[in-house]
C-alpha cells in the first residue's frame, strides 16, 4: 500500500496577493446584553446590506465568540453602539474566513447559475444542494417521461489547522436525483391499464401526492374503482381520498416494480433498472451473464465524475477576489500521506 496514492474529495483553496482580511468584530457579551429576541433583526440588517458575516457562539482556536463582519468600513448594526465594534485583521485562510468563502462560492454559483446550467435546491444537513438542469437520462414509455435522472452536487468549505498552518478546502460531493414525472391518471392511460391493477400493484406502496403545488408523501391504502380515487394515508390515523391526477410514483424506481410488471413493459423496465444501476454506481449489466452484477470500479467512476464537476462548475467560478486577496482552486484533489500504525 505504501506505493499507492490516496486522495480525498477535497480541493485546496489557495490565497494569493495578501494573507489578511479586514473585518469588524462585535463581542458576544455585547450581543448578550442586547438580548436574543433581537438577534433575528441584527442578522437581517447585515443580510440586507449584503454584508457577509460569521457568528460563532463559542470560543474556537484564537477566535472569541461574537459576530465577525467582513467589511472595509465599520458596519451599522441595530442596537450595537459604534464604539463596541472592533476592527480586526484575520488570516485569509483562518477558521473565520471559511464562512466568508462559503458565502462567496454560493454567491458566484447563483450569479452564474444560468451559464453553468444549475439550479439551487435549498440545503440538506446545512450544505447547499444544486441540481444540473439537464437530465442525464429520461426514461420514457410511449413518449411519456416516467423518470428523469439528474446529477446533484453539494459542497462545504472546510478549515483545517495542521502544524500551526491554516488551510481551506472545498469539499465536494455528488449524487443522483430521480424525479417521477407522471401522474397515475396519465400512466394508466399510456399503458392502457385497468384501474383494478393498482390494487395489486401499488397498494401499501409509498406515493407522492400533489397538494397545492407541493408534494407530500403518503401510503396508498386502497383504490376506489368507480370514483377513480385512492385512499392515501399521510401517516396519521385517517385516510384521505385523492384523485389519480394528483398521485405520482415514488421516486425510487424499485418501489414501482409490480406496476410495470402488470403494465406489460417489464423488458423496458428492466432496461431502465440497468441504467439506474449504472447511474447510482451500484450495478452494471453483464452481457455474458445477461444480468446486473455489482459494479467493480464504483469509486473510480465516482472520482472521475467529481473531477468533471470541478472542471465544469467550480473552476468556472474561481478565482474569487475579496478585498486584496485572490482565492484560486487547486485542480487536483488533496493527496493523503500514508502512515502505518501496525
Amino acid at each position: 500500500m505504501s506505493n499507492r496514492n490516496f486522495f480525498l474529495n477535497v480541493f485546496e483553496i489557495i490565497s494569493e496577493n495578501g494573507d489578511k482580511l479586514l473585518c469588524y468584530f462585535i463581542p458576544q457579551e455585547v450581543l448578550n446584553r442586547i438580548g436574543s429576541s433581537r438577534y433575528a433583526e441584527i442578522k437581517s440588517s447585515l443580510l440586507n446590506k449584503d454584508l457577509i458575516y460569521a457568528w460563532i457562539n463559542a470560543e474556537y482556536l484564537e477566535f472569541k465568540p461574537g459576530i465577525y463582519v467582513f467589511s472595509e468600513e465599520a458596519p451599522e448594526v441595530p442596537y450595537v453602539e459604534e464604539n463596541v465594534i472592533n476592527e480586526v485583521h484575520i488570516g485569509a485562510k483562518s477558521y473565520i474566513s471559511r464562512f466568508l468563502l462559503r458565502r462567496l462560492v454560493e454567491k458566484k454559483l447563483l450569479e452564474k447559475k444560468d451559464e453553468l446550467g444549475i439550479l439551487y435546491e435549498g440545503t440538506r444537513y446545512g450544505s447547499p444542494i444544486y441540481l444540473r438542469t439537464n437530465p442525464i437520462f429520461v426514461w420514457k414509455l410511449k413518449n411519456l417521461p416516467i423518470y428523469e435522472f439528474y446529477e446533484e452536487f453539494t459542497y462545504r468549505v472546510e478549515h483545517v489547522r495542521e502544524m500551526n498552518t491554516d488551510r481551506l478546502f472545498l469539499l465536494i460531493d455528488r449524487s443522483l436525483r430521480v424525479t417521477s414525472k407522471v401522474c397515475l391518471k396519465d400512466l394508466l392511460s399510456a399503458l392502457s391499464l385497468d384501474v383494478n391493477v393498482l390494487r395489486n400493484a401499488l397498494v401499501d406502496i409509498r406515493v407522492r401526492v400533489k397538494q397545492n403545488d407541493k408534494f407530500a408523501i403518503g401510503v396508498l391504502s386502497d383504490v376506489n374503482i368507480e370514483q377513480k380515487t385512492a385512499h392515501v394515508n399521510f401517516g396519521t390515523y385517517e385516510l384521505k381520498d385523492v384523485t389519480f391526477d394528483n398521485i405520482f410514483l415514488p421516486e425510487n424506481p424499485l418501489w414501482a416494480t409490480r406496476l410495470f410488471k402488470f403494465g406489460g413493459v417489464e423488458k423496458q423496465y428492466e432496461q431502465m433498472l440497468n441504467k439506474y444501476g449504472e447511474l447510482t454506481l451500484r450495478t452494471t449489466y453483464d452481457q455474458r451473464l445477461r444480468r446486473r452484477v455489482k459494479m467493480k470500479d464504483a469509486p473510480r467512476r465516482y472520482f472521475s465524475h467529481l473531477k468533471d464537476l470541478v472542471n465544469t462548475i467550480f473552476q468556472k467560478i474561481f478565482p474569487i477576489k475579496f478585498q486584496d486577496v485572490t482565492y484560486t482552486l487547486s485542480d487536483e484533489p488533496t493527496t493523503l500521506n500514508v502512515e502505518y500504525s501496525w
Binding site: Y237, L254, L281, D297, A298, R300, L336
Partner: protein, 439 residues
C-alpha cells in the same frame, strides 16, 4: 493529512469456545455462536397476509432446512427451532391500532409460556413516520407481554434472495431469544492508557413530530445503550418525555446515571467511558450536565473516570479514493483531519478482493470533549470503538456493517418507543433492558 490503517486481524470476531473468524457467517457455520440462549429450542410463530402464504412457506423451509447459502437455523446456531401454528391475516386486518382477533388470541396463550415464541411478522414497507403502521401496532402489543417480534417487509421477501434474508432474520431471532452470536476479538483499549475498565455509552435524542411531515414537535424520545469492551450490549434504557429541554435533559442524565451505575457494579479504580452520539440535539447544556454527572459519580464512588464525548456523523461528504483500477479505499483505514476529526472507513476493500456495493461512505467522528488533554489521547481507540461497534450489528451477518450499533438504531428506537407509548400506552421503562428488541 495522513491516512492510517488498523491491523485487519483486530477485526476478528469471537464465536463458540473462543474460536475466531473475520466473517460472521463463516464463524457461525464453522464454530457456532458465542453464547446460546437458555432453553432447549427457540419457538417461532409466523404471522403474514394470506396472499403471501406461498413465499412465506418457501422462506420457512429455508429458515428450517437451509438453502444454497444458509445451512439452516440449527446447523448455524446449534439450537433447534420449533414452529408454532401460523396466523394468516386478511389485508384489512393490518389496519387499526388493535391486534386482529386471531393474533390477540394467540398472544393470550403465548404470554403465559415461559419460553415465549418469537413472532415473525410479514408487513408491507410502511414508512417510519406512519403512526398506525402495523410495524408499531404489532410490536407494541407484543412487547406489552415481553414477547419479541421480528418484522420482515414484503418487498424483502419478494425481491431478495431468501437465503440472504433467512441468515439475517435468523441472527436477529437468535439475539432476541437471548443468544449472543459473536463478540469482538480485540477488546476496546483504554484511550487514557490507564483504565482497568472501558465502556462505550451510545445515546440518542430525537424530536418526535406531533404529525408526520410537520415541524411541530411534541415529544423527545431517546435511549442510552451500554456496550462493554467486547462489544456486547450490557444495558439499554429508553425514554419518552414531553417536548421540554430541561425535562428531557433530566431524563437523559438519569438514564446515563443508571448505565454508569450498572457498569460500576463491580469495583474498579480507573474507568474510561467513550460516549457515542449522533443526533444534532446535544447542546452545550447536555454536555455540561453529562460532565457534572461524571464528576459526581467519580467523587461518590471514588473512581477515576476518564471520558470522551464523540459525535458520529453517518453521512459526511468526505470520500477517500485509492489510485487503483477500482479506486476502493481500504476497510479499517482512517484519516485524521485536524486535531478533532477522524474519517473512518468501517467498510471498504478487504484483503485486496472483497468490496462493498457502490461507493463506500466513511463515518466522520468529531471529538467534542474530554477531561484528558486531546494530545494525550490515543485517538486510534476511538477509531476502533467505531469499527468494533459497527461489527457488532447482529441484524446483519454480512461482512460489511457501516454504522456503529451504538447509534445505528437511534431514530428507529426513538420512533418505536414514542409509538409504543402512543398506541398501547407502553411505558419505556417496561421494555427489556438486556435484550436487543429493537433489531
Amino acid at each position: 493529512m495522513n491516512i492510517r490503517f488498523l491491523d485487519p486481524t483486530s477485526l476478528q470476531l469471537v464465536f463458540r469456545t473462543g474460536e475466531t473468524h473475520l466473517f460472521p457467517r463463516r464463524g457461525l457455520e464453522n464454530y457456532g455462536p458465542h453464547e446460546s440462549p437458555s432453553g432447549e429450542n427457540i419457538t417461532i410463530r409466523f404471522v403474514y397476509p394470506k396472499n403471501y402464504q406461498t413465499v412465506v412457506n418457501k422462506f420457512k423451509n429455508v429458515l428450517e432446512s437451509g438453502g444454497n447459502r444458509f445451512p439452516g437455523f440449527e446447523n448455524v446456531y446449534r439450537i433447534p427451532i420449533e414452529l408454532s401454528d401460523d396466523i394468516m391475516l386478511d389485508h384489512t386486518e393490518y389496519r387499526g391500532i388493535e391486534l386482529p382477533k386471531k393474533l390477540a388470541k394467540a398472544v393470550e396463550e403465548d404470554k403465559e409460556i415461559a419460553n415465549k415464541p418469537i413472532y415473525v411478522i410479514v408487513v408491507h414497507p410502511y414508512p417510519r413516520w406512519q403512526k398506525s403502521s402495523p410495524y408499531y401496532v404489532f410490536k407494541s402489543h407484543l412487547l406489552k407481554f415481553k414477547i419479541m417480534s421480528q418484522m420482515i417487509r414484503t418487498d424483502v421477501l419478494q425481491g431478495r434472495n431468501l437465503d440472504e434474508v433467512a441468515y439475517n432474520v435468523a441472527n436477529a431471532i437468535f439475539a432476541k431469544a437471548g443468544g449472543k452470536p459473536w463478540k469482538l476479538f480485540t477488546k476496546i483499549p483504554s484511550f487514557s492508557g490507564t483504565a482497568d475498565l472501558v465502556i462505550i455509552i451510545g445515546f440518542g435524542l430525537t424530536r418526535v413530530p406531533r404529525d408526520p411531515a410537520q415541524r411541530i414537535f411534541d415529544r423527545y424520545a431517546g435511549y442510552v445503550i451500554v456496550m462493554n469492551e467486547e462489544g456486547l450490549m450490557d444495558h439499554l434504557k429508553t425514554f419518552v418525555t414531553q417536548y421540554e429541554k430541561t425535562v428531557m435533559r433530566r431524563k437523559l442524565i438519569e438514564c446515563i446515571r443508571d448505565a454508569l451505575n450498572s457498569a460500576l457494579r463491580e469495583h474498579v479504580e480507573n474507568i474510561d467511558v467513550i460516549f457515542h452520539y449522533s443526533s444534532k440535539e446535544l447542546s452545550i447544556e447536555e454536555e455540561k450536565s453529562i460532565k457534572q454527572l461524571l464528576e459526581q459519580i467519580s467523587k461518590d464512588q471514588s473512581v477515576k473516570m476518564n471520558y470522551a464525548i464523540i459525535r458520529i456523523i453517518t453521512h459526511p461528504l468526505y470520500r477517500v479514493f485509492m489510485d487503483t483500477d477500482d479506486g476502493y479505499p481500504l476497510m479499517a483505514s482512517y484519516v485524521e483531519i485536524g486535531d478533532r476529526l477522524l474519517l473512518i472507513y468501517t467498510v471498504g476493500k478487504l484483503y485486496e478482493k472483497i468490496t462493498p456495493l457502490g461507493v463506500p461512505r466513511p463515518i466522520l467522528v468529531s471529538i467534542r470533549s474530554s477531561n484528558i488533554d486531546i494530545q494525550e489521547i490515543d485517538k486510534e481507540v476511538f477509531v476502533y470503538s467505531v469499527i468494533g461497534t459497527a461489527r457488532m450489528n447482529w441484524r446483519n451477518t454480512g461482512i460489511f456493517n457501516r454504522e456503529p450499533t451504538t447509534i445505528r438504531y437511534a431514530r428507529d428506537i426513538a420512533y418505536m418507543v414514542a409509538s409504543f407509548n402512543e398506541i398501547v400506552n407502553l411505558d419505556p421503562a417496561y421494555l427489556p433492558e438486556e435484550i436487543p428488541w429493537f433489531l
